[in-house]
Symmetry: C2
């Protein structure tokens, strides 16, 4: 039987990765449709996809007749429509903390290193591949340094970003750490982040959401 | 009597502007502390402020003993702790729409044109002031074009972004339109956005939150 939930997905998109983890943590079955971000000038720019998502970005989640965009909004929607297990704590102060940690990734790290920004610094300023990688490492490092302080200095940090159950902040952090490794960002200064990332990696919901587990994943180039 | 709410603020920060509008819409009194983003290398980098906000960004909202960062998280916190008047609709589908519109600004337009990114393209790639302005106009235009489609094509758009009462999406949109005007982005192709912006401008809560109304506002350079 077809699932009501369909995720327009790209294996290496951090935003799509967040939604995959959340769907898995909630125990929700979903189908995927691959949107290849660089093939044919970017399948996200096709008229059919742009009609679903005028921003021409992944992910888009279809829930029956509803079209949902923006991964943080999708996470909140899943939390409201499928409250168990919760991705946010019950108290407003805790919820604010988890959302702030999530947005420190989603608003302040991820957007500046997005594919389209890397393409733009190449086109506008002639940035080389090495300069693009340095740009990525700069912003990811600044962001992770702040997150490490926010996590290490709080009594609310537990096995995961907030307490001892995985939640929205972990859902956002883990894809960002994956991305940091991809761009070879040194991570030794962020022991709390690495500890939480390892705790998440041990969970099936996180494992099944990894880029390499997606049907559209591409094998690494052979050595 | 001192207010329990203290906003670390910069008059021209879009993120602080969002929080000011929301506080005003909720009828909440607050004190401000000015954090000048360019004076003395940026007051947001001072040790005292960094201790409050490890990301060294404005705004930070203090509510009694609680330190709140990230403007979208602050908006959600205000909504949960002061539900009236609501900034989000009651239904999950509507809430997802309003959050997606908000994040189309907060995650996909604002971060790429933030002060620190403009400083970085100047430092890393030697971008001139004109190139910085072109960079801003590029990303703001792409973002507003998508928002115009999202707003113009939806039956849920009313006098405001969602229905006939101002909410979270308007709180995010209006500062972005202010920013677009500052950078001289042509706005003629976005009639729905301009109509909503004008409707908001007529409200006292929005007027009182404008950059020019802030105690730390600087007068325009004389001609």
């Amino acid at each position: 039987m077809a699932s009501d939930l369909v995720l327009y997905n790209y294996w290496r998109s951090s935003s799509a990765y967040r939604v995959r983890i959340a769907l898995n943590l909630k125990g929700l079955r979903y189908e995927t449709r691959a949107i290849h971000l660089t093939r044919d000038g970017g399948e996200q720019h096709s008229p059919a996809y742009a009609a679903l998502n005028p921003q021409e970005l992944v992910p888009t989640l279809i829930d029956g007749g509803l079209v949902l965009t923006q991964s943080p909004a999708i996470l909140e929607y899943l939390e409201e429509t499928h409250p168990q297990p919760p991705l946010l704590p019950a108290d407003p102060a805790g919820r604010a903390r988890v959302r702030a940690l999530s947005q420190a990734v989603a608003c302040d790290i991820h957007p500046i290193g997005n594919l389209r920004v890397l393409q733009a610094i190449g086109k506008e300023f002639g940035a080389s591949d090495e300069q693009k990688a340095a740009w990525m490492r700069h912003w990811v490092s600044i962001g992770l340094r702040a997150l490490e302080i926010m996590l290490a200095n709080s009594k609310h940090t537990g096995h995961y970003c907030h307490g001892n159950t995985p939640g929205m902040a972990d859902v956002c952090l883990v894809p960002q750490v994956y991305n940091a490794r991809r761009w070879k960002v040194p991570l030794g200064d962020y022991p709390t982040i690495l500890r939480i990332d390892a705790a998440c990696a041990a969970l099936q919901a996180f494992h099944d959401a990894t880029p390499e587990q997606q049907p559209d994943a591409q094998p690494p180039p052979s050595a």
